[in-house]
């Protein structure tokens, strides 16, 4: 009990920290039990989520390279990697972050440590190729941080090894006693302060290469700097992002996107550098120009650029049509001129409960599961942006891959909605157009950019995406949407047809999944296993159509109510149905694999009662003949909304 009292006293003494504005959820989080406020479940306390980050007194962050493995074995039988080369690569990866002019983060390799055991909480920031048996990852970057506001005094043993980790003689973190671990200065440290970060790389399953000449397409071979840049983002608190395709012409994603393409050397080269999203979050959490104290790392020195001079924020809430807060979605800002998705942010700030006996966080009732309904996106100012939101629904990234707020959104099933954009001040749950339209000028912080998800639904003959299949070169893929299914959404005033989506991907992460066109056309199911589809005068055409990798790529329709009237009038009278059609290009992609883009399929499992519903068709003769597919359906989707 004594320890718990200490926690609450610390909290009471340092309320000032709680008055700071909540920051954006692009960071890794931990829970804060400082307030010691009882939760709704006996034995628990409320644990609002906070960012993890290094205290400014610990900048620069020192890292030691474990020298037990030198050279690092090559599990594929090639030449091993010597530790000196690996160490240089680590520093190069650190410098990718260190060189951001608007961020004062600084991480440095300062020496070596000899540790035959896996990493642990020991106040030594370790870079190691030693991993425990069964290590499931390519690399990992676990951080141990405070979960309660704390005051360190001289002689405190933070990690419990019997050795003092706090010195009154220090003003910055340092190995003051020369024993290899880091001592902290006395003082206050808020919950979320990182005490120890280690990064481990699995040399038992993967080969890490250094340099362009060593890049290859072997799945278990990766560029060390690319992996290290990503992990070192986590090392200073940056979370995964959902940006895996910057624009319709740029296939690369953010360095903090959780997947890299080991078979695409270009993607690995791309991963060695940062995207705006990565830079913005590192800068938001370690802002240059945030202190007038020359001893503070946020003091502007030559070469630094003040965060505030470059960035500002867009903030607001995301709610469903009934006003409930969407926790753990991904709000994003898209440059209206370049079409580039610049920064994304997790929506709302979550809260967990903390079971004091078990020492574990628990999910709270939904109404208690957030402490702030806002998202906050840091963006370069002086630009115009479309603002939108997409679900963290595992396509391409799930909330559980991002942070605790994302996990809450996932567990509560809140990530089931279609990507849509803010319509401006007139935003409502029944927008006439859900695509990019309203250009938000951002010269200063913009708040109340409140996105209300539309009251709509997606019609599809298929379930989820079970797999991806190559699109036949020059071929057409079509899915029938019976008018009767659209009619079901007519509550008396008609139906809006808002758009269509196609599950797509590319087998080279550096390439975009490009198609010749996407059509909303009409046609007839001929009952003999074929369909006749009129591609000469489609209702809507998007050409070219650029999909999204491992995601549903949307096409948004204007005049959605007019389209609905036609569907329920003319098309129905003619006995026709709508068809969603995707036309693949005649040539394969320019990437290293050279494969065509791929399209998602839902495999029909008769054992589970699934049947071929004659809704998915293919044409390989230029759209003249469409034949039904026998073993699977295409999860193409038509998005419709009742006119209320």
């Amino acid at each position: 009990m004594k320890n718990l009292v200490r926690v609450s006293l610390c909290a009471a003494a340092l309320l000032a920290a709680l008055t700071l504005p909540l920051s954006a959820s692009g960071n890794l989080e931990t829970y804060n039990i400082s307030a010691f406020q009882p939760g709704p479940v006996p034995g628990t306390v409320l644990a609002p989520l906070v960012d993890i980050k290094w205290d400014s007194r610990c900048i620069s962050v020192p890292y030691a390279v474990n020298d037990v493995l030198d050279p690092i074995p090559n599990v594929l039988g090639g030449p091993p990697l010597d530790l000196a080369t690996a160490t240089a690569a680590f520093q190069e990866a650190f410098d990718v972050w260190n060189d951001i002019p608007t961020s004062y983060i600084d991480m440095q390799v300062v020496g070596n440590i000899t540790n035959p055991n896996p990493r642990g909480f020991d106040m030594v920031n370790e870079l190691t190729f030693v991993t425990p048996p069964g290590f499931p990852a390519i690399a990992s970057s676990p951080s141990t941080s405070l979960i309660a506001d704390s005051v360190f005094v001289d002689g405190d043993d933070i990690d419990g090894d019997g050795d003092s980790d706090v010195s009154a003689t220090l003003t910055t973190c340092a190995d003051v006693d020369g024993d290899g671990d880091i001592e902290f200065p006395e003082g206050f440290y808020p919950a979320g302060t990182i005490l120890d970060n280690d990064v481990e790389f699995s040399a038992t399953t993967f080969v890490f290469t250094v340099g362009d000449a060593a890049l290859n397409t072997i799945p278990n071979s990766l560029d060390l700097i690319t992996v290290a840049v990503h992990e070192f983002g986590h090392s200073h608190g940056v979370a995964h992002t959902a940006i895996n395709q910057i624009s319709d012409t740029e296939g690369r994603g953010s360095a903090m996107f959780p997947t890299i393409d080991t078979s695409d050397p270009v993607d690995q080269i791309n991963g060695r550098s940062l995207h705006v999203d990565d830079i913005a979050y590192s800068s938001l959490y370690y802002p240059e120009g945030s202190s007038s104290d020359p001893s503070h790392p946020g003091y502007l020195n030559p070469g630094d650029v003040a965060f505030d001079s470059v960035y500002t924020t867009i903030s607001g809430s995301v709610t469903d049509p009934f006003g409930s807060v969407i926790i753990g979605g991904s709000a994003f800002a898209e440059n209206t001129e370049t079409g580039e998705v610049v920064v994304s942010a997790v929506t709302a700030r979550g809260q967990l409960g903390f079971d004091l006996f078990a020492g574990t966080p628990i999910l709270l009732p939904l109404s208690d599961s957030f402490i702030d309904d806002r998202y906050v996106i840091p963006v370069p100012k002086g630009k115009r942006y479309f603002v939108g939101v997409e679900a963290l629904d595992s396509e391409p990234v799930g909330g559980n891959q991002v942070n605790f707020t994302g996990i809450i959104g996932s567990l509560y099933g809140l990530q089931i909605f279609d990507e849509e954009y803010w319509a401006g001040p007139s935003e409502s749950f029944s927008d006439n157009f859900t695509g990019p339209n309203y250009k938000l000028v951002v010269n200063r912080a913009r708040s109340n950019v409140n996105i209300v998800l539309d009251f709509n639904a997606a019609i599809t003959p298929a379930g989820g995406v079970d797999a991806f299949a190559f699109a036949p070169l020059g071929g057409y893929l079509a899915v029938r949407i019976p008018i009767s299914e659209i009619e079901a959404f007519d509550f008396g005033n008609g139906v809006k047809i808002q758009g269509m989506t196609f599950p797509t991907t590319s087998f080279d992460a550096s390439s975009v999944p490009a198609f010749d066109a996407a059509y909303l056309a009409v046609g007839v199911d001929n009952e003999d296993g074929t369909a006749s589809i009129d591609l000469n005068v489609p209702f809507r055409t998007e050409a070219p159509f650029i999909g999204q990798p491992s995601d549903q790529g949307p096409v948004f329709f204007r005049s959605s109510a007019s389209l609905g009237r036609q569907a329920l009038g003319k098309v129905k009278r003619r006995g026709q149905d709508f068809f969603l059609v995707l036309k693949a290009g005649p040539n394969p992609l320019p990437g290293v694999n050279g494969f065509p883009p791929a399209v998602g399929v839902d495999v029909i499992d008769p054992a589970a009662g699934e049947i071929n519903v004659r809704r998915s068709f293919i044409s390989t003769d230029g759209g003249v003949t469409f034949n039904t597919l026998g073993s699977f359906n295409r999860p193409f989707r038509l998005v419709v909304a009742p006119i209320l």
Binding site: V7, S140, S150, L356, T360, N400, A469, N593, A608, F632
Partner: protein, 183 residues
Amino acid sequence: MLTRNSVKTPLGLLTVALLMAAGASASTLQLTDRQMVDASDLVIVGECLEMKSEWVGRNLMTRYTFKVDEVWAGQAAGLVEVVVPGGADANRKFPVATVWPGAPIFSPNERALLMLDQLPLLYEGAYSVVGFNQGRFTVAIGPLTAAKSSASTSGPALQRRESAELDRLHARFDQLIATKGDR
């Protein structure tokens, strides 16, 4: 995306090569459904009853105890322990937590389909989730949280959603489990 060479061969126009979405994460290998099933020693539907964080050497780990409701592959009965990296210790002078980006956390009464890999050394008889968090599919979050959240997630509605989710998972994995290890 990381794809296996064995399924990369471009096929003819009419032939459709089913390619599971695969890739390599900078944290974990992104597994296909086939890879997840084949890597599993045990596939169960279970309910999380208990959880406890503890130190293993200088590492915080969390041990979850699941009541086994259904066994889809492997052999298990009664209770199964699942150990994941990361956890918290509030009962110390300075309370700390270790966060592993991407590692799973479970909630009391959470019901999930779990693809599990036996841990040979760390905990005898305990399991880890295949692919860090990829082999975990939550089907219900439990009566405590659901009942207080909204009408749509309580009582019969909750049961229907849970049943539908299990049906979907059956459709996704049954065939793979039936042919587990055939390749």
